[in-house]
Structures are given as structure tokens and as C-alpha cells.
Symmetry: C2
Subunit: 349 residues, 2 copies
Amino acid sequence: MFMMNDILENKQIARIAGKFHKAPHRMNDIHETDAEIVDLGTTSEKYLAITTDALVEEISSGLYEDPSLIGWMLAMANFSDLAAVGADPLGLLIAVTCAPSHDDTFLDQLSSGISDACDRLGTFVLGGDTNQGQSLMLCGTAVGTVPKSRVMRRVGASPNDKLYLTAPAGLGNVYAFLRLARKDNGLPQGLYKPVARISEGKMIRQFASCCMDTSDGVIHTIDTLMRLNHRRFILDACWEKTVHPFALKVCRAQGFPAWLVLAAIHGEFELCFTVEPRKEEEFLRAAERTGWTPILIGEVNEGEGVFIRSGDKAVRVDSAAIRNLADEAGSDPAAYIKHLLEVAHAVDL
Amino acid sequence: MFMMNDILENKQIARIAGKFHKAPHRMNDIHETDAEIVDLGTTSEKYLAITTDALVEEISSGLYEDPSLIGWMLAMANFSDLAAVGADPLGLLIAVTCAPSHDDTFLDQLSSGISDACDRLGTFVLGGDTNQGQSLMLCGTAVGTVPKSRVMRRVGASPNDKLYLTAPAGLGNVYAFLRLARKDNGLPQGLYKPVARISEGKMIRQFASCCMDTSDGVIHTIDTLMRLNHRRFILDACWEKTVHPFALKVCRAQGFPAWLVLAAIHGEFELCFTVEPRKEEEFLRAAERTGWTPILIGEVNEGEGVFIRSGDKAVRVDSAAIRNLADEAGSDPAAYIKHLLEVAHAVDL
């Protein structure tokens, strides 16, 4: 049996959250949704969706340095959790702690990044809190509403459901690899500026049986869906379709298996979701009408575990080991990549 | 003319928030409310009230060290902003960043403090985010609802309105003085565990013309109300009534003017509010029925400025100078107290 607490991060969450009483008006269990779902106790046909996300390791590691990218990511990381439950955003709250070294130019660019991200999604900063500290600390809270009958959860997948991704993934990990292991400036200018899938989420919510964003990487997401649904999740080894072209190019140049950019921990803000076969045709037609092509990346079967399938062969991936690497390797990118390659080479496709 | 941007803290807020477009569904201007007021776009008779507050200086300065007090204060600071707009809480979201030095015992006590505070107010932790970092960082977001016709704002005071406080204040600053300047353990065990005035806020919202919490000290609050309302705010020098007995005792022992514990920056979670004379009797009767005695501390007049009145004499207090001291004196408690005493001695009562 695959358990949520096989994952080290989840043990810490359980430690902190173990004492809290569940609110009768919170409509989700822990881990069950990307954002919390709250019944407002009114006659409204909508739930409140709310989520909080701080940027910590991403700043302290040097992964994000450009203040406008930092602001952009703070907003998008939070809105992506709203997208994954199918919510319409009401806006963002921000808590900004600056050090004396952060001058007006830095603050201007940071707030431009936040503002641009909100503009891009047609939403707003609602308010915030400012503090003085020793280093930059940023915390966001995104809030929105979702029709009660359309809330997407991480649970609900059935055998034979099709597994989809909003778009090819892997740019997040390639960005992290280039910046942290290669010490260059990351991707070509402007290539890495992910957009939370709010509009896709509002379409997907009409069809999906479960949904989660890929903010910690695609394999992480599939591993979580597998543990919560107690189903086998099968990822097809069609990397030309599933992996972003630039990420594929970097993998080839480095001699990495292509799926490694789906496995490492710095994801992007795609949505990974399942659709029942009977709804698939209508879903694809609806997507096509908006000019969007969802990516079919695999399917759900009876059983448990995460598998990669190539032709008739399906190989189990130790997705718990992959997920726990980030906690075990600490903040050493070279050690992290080395361990990740070891796990990857054990998958004999 | 007294301007909000005479206050250094407000300049930083303006710098960061200047780029943001105002959401059409945000029902308050910046600085106008303790929590943001959001129209949910439904037929609901309630607005959403939401606020975010990080604990930064309070931890880095050593002001809060006991993890259960840290957790308690994180929750109460956020709920106090809900109390000040008259909201009923739905719950709290928390973003917790721990360092490797924070062991399980620390985390247990921290989460107990948060949980106890929510229990005390009959509310809940709704969700959160955990991260690993170099030091402890905590950010909270409190969310609630408030009847549309009952939202309390910081604006709305008229000449002759009576100025009230939910209870005698000053314990917050005495706690900070004893811990930071005296290096002892603060107040006698258990004396400093402030409770956000949620239940009082729900009564006050039926009567008040404006309201704000005292989380940065009473003088800070009155200064803000004065600037936003463009009225004169007069505080009566009846310190036996306005200042907490333990705080009075410490002031006497130290030779401080009693109102200094209302002027320094570490407040508590009382509500400071104004009531029109014609509503005062009904307000007091309603309070009495619940066994609560609001403290009459002064009144609102024509004009501007913050004044302290003793008998027939009213002396203006340079409340901008007092507020800016915290930014100017940095993190040196002795320098802060010295400057504060200089400002206080210029007030000749």
C-alpha cells in the first residue's frame, strides 16, 4: 500500500497539522485539493477557494534572482493552486519582508512582477503586509470562488481514465538545472515565465475526475495522485509529446533520460488531470473550440504505483525515492542530480 | 494637513502597492480598513474579509521566543484585523518555514499555540504551506465574512463622537520593555496572552462610526484614525482607566509617563473605535448585557492632530514623530526608549 506519509515532506505537514481540528465548513481533507475549499455558509452556489504559498528555497538557493521574476512566480505559484481546483480568482494578498539592502529599484521590479502576473490573469492584488527583516521573504495567499458542483480534487480517478497535461512540461527543471548546476542565467530570456492555468482550469473542471498542478514536477504530481486514488498511474514514454522541446534539447545535450525533467522537483504550473473515457470526446471538442490542445500522457489502471510504459513494457518508477531525494540531498544541486540519475537508470525501458 | 505619507512605514507600502490596480470588487481603499473587504459577486448579504500578517521583527528581535506564544500571536494578530472590521472568522491559513534547528518539540509547541488560539476564538486552521529555510518565518492569513451593512472602517468619525477602547491597554509595550530592555522573561507567566476581540467586534459593528485595532500601540492607532478622518482626536489623561494596572505599576517603578505604554510600537489586540453620541447609550446597554465594560478614553473634535487632555488643558502630541521612531531607531531598544522619552517630555501636561 502506497501511503502519503512515505513522503518525507508529508510527515512534516502531519507533524504541524496534527493538532488542528478540522473546520466543519472546510470541504476538503488535507492533501485532497491544491487549494482549501471553504463553505461560506450562505445560499451561494460557490465555495471559497483559498491557498497560501511562500517563496523560500527558491530565493535562498539563488534559483530566482531577478526581482520581477520573483514577483511573477509568487503570484503564479498561488494562482496555480486555484487553477487546479477550477477556481475563478478574486485576487492575491502578499506579505513582503525586505532587508535594508533592497533598494527602491528592487522593490519596484518586484511589485511590477506581481502586478504583471495579476494583469496576465485578469486579477488583482487585494492587499498585503510589509516588514523589515534580514533577508527577502515573500508569502502569498490567493483567493477565489468555484461553483460547488465543479470543484476539482486530487481524488476521483477511476481505472481507464485518461491522464492529461495542459501542455508539455519540464521547463521548470531545465531552468533550475541551468541556473543552479550550470551557473548560467537559466533559459533564453523570457522562455521561463510560466502562467497559471486559470482559464484551462475553468474548462477542465467540467470534465476532469481529478486534477493537481505540477508545481513540484510531473512525477511528484502523478505520485501524489497515485497515493490518494490508490490506482496505478501509467505515463507513456512519448517524450516528444510530453516534454517541452527546449527541455528535450537540453536532455539530449546532457545525455539525461528525457523524463528526468519531469522527475526533478522544480516544476512549472501545468495541470495534470484525468478524464473518464465517456467524457473525453466532448472535453477535446471543448478544448479545440478555444484553440487549446491538451496533451494525453497516459492512463489510470487498477493497482497502485507509478509506471512508465514503452510499447508493451511498463516499468515501475520508485517515485517515493524520487520525491524524497530533495529532502535527503539538501541544497546541493550536484548531489541531487547524481542521485536522481541513479534512480532514473534503475528504470530499464 | 496631516498626511498618511508623513509616516515612513506608509511610504514603503505606497512604493510596493503603487503599481497595483485596484480590484473593482475590493470595497476598501488602501489603509481604510484593518482587513480587505471583498465583494464575492454573489447575492450574499456578506462581504469576505481577508488579511495577511507575517511575524518577522517580533521573532528576529527575540521579542517572542516561546514557540507556543509565537503560534498564539501569529493567529491572534491576524484575527485581530478581522475583529476590527467586525468580521466572523472562517479560519486561518499559515505558511511555516522552519530551520533544521527546529526540532519536533518546537514544532509541536508552535502548532499548539496556533491551535489554542483558534480554539479560544471558536475558529480553525484551514490550511497552509511548509518550507525549509535558514530561520523561522511565519505568515498567516485570516479570512472571514461580515454583513455588508456592518463593515467597520477606519474612516467615518464625526466631531463629538466618543472614543472607546475595548479594555485598558499597554501590556504589549510593557511586555516588550521587560523582555528587550530588561532582558528578563517579560510579564509574570500567562499575563501576556492577548485575545483578538472578535466577539466585541461583532457587537461594536452595530454602533461604531470607525474602528481599528491597537496592534502597533494605541497612539499609533489614534494617529492613523486622525489622518484618515481629518479630525482632532483627544485622549483623556485618565491613565488609571486607560492603562492596564500592571503596565501602570511598571511605569511608576521606572518613572515613565503612563501614556508611554500607549505610545510605543508593540501594542496588543484591543479595538479603538468611535461611537456617535446618539448611539452611545444603546451601545453601553448592549455591552453591559454581555458583561463587558468598554473604556471611554476621549473624543473626536473639529480640527486635526492627536491631543492629550488633562482638565481644561489639551496638548498636541507629535504622533508622527512617535510612529517614525521605530523606523529611525532601528532595532536598538535602548535608543528607541530614549527617543520616546524625549518626545514624551515635550508633552507638557
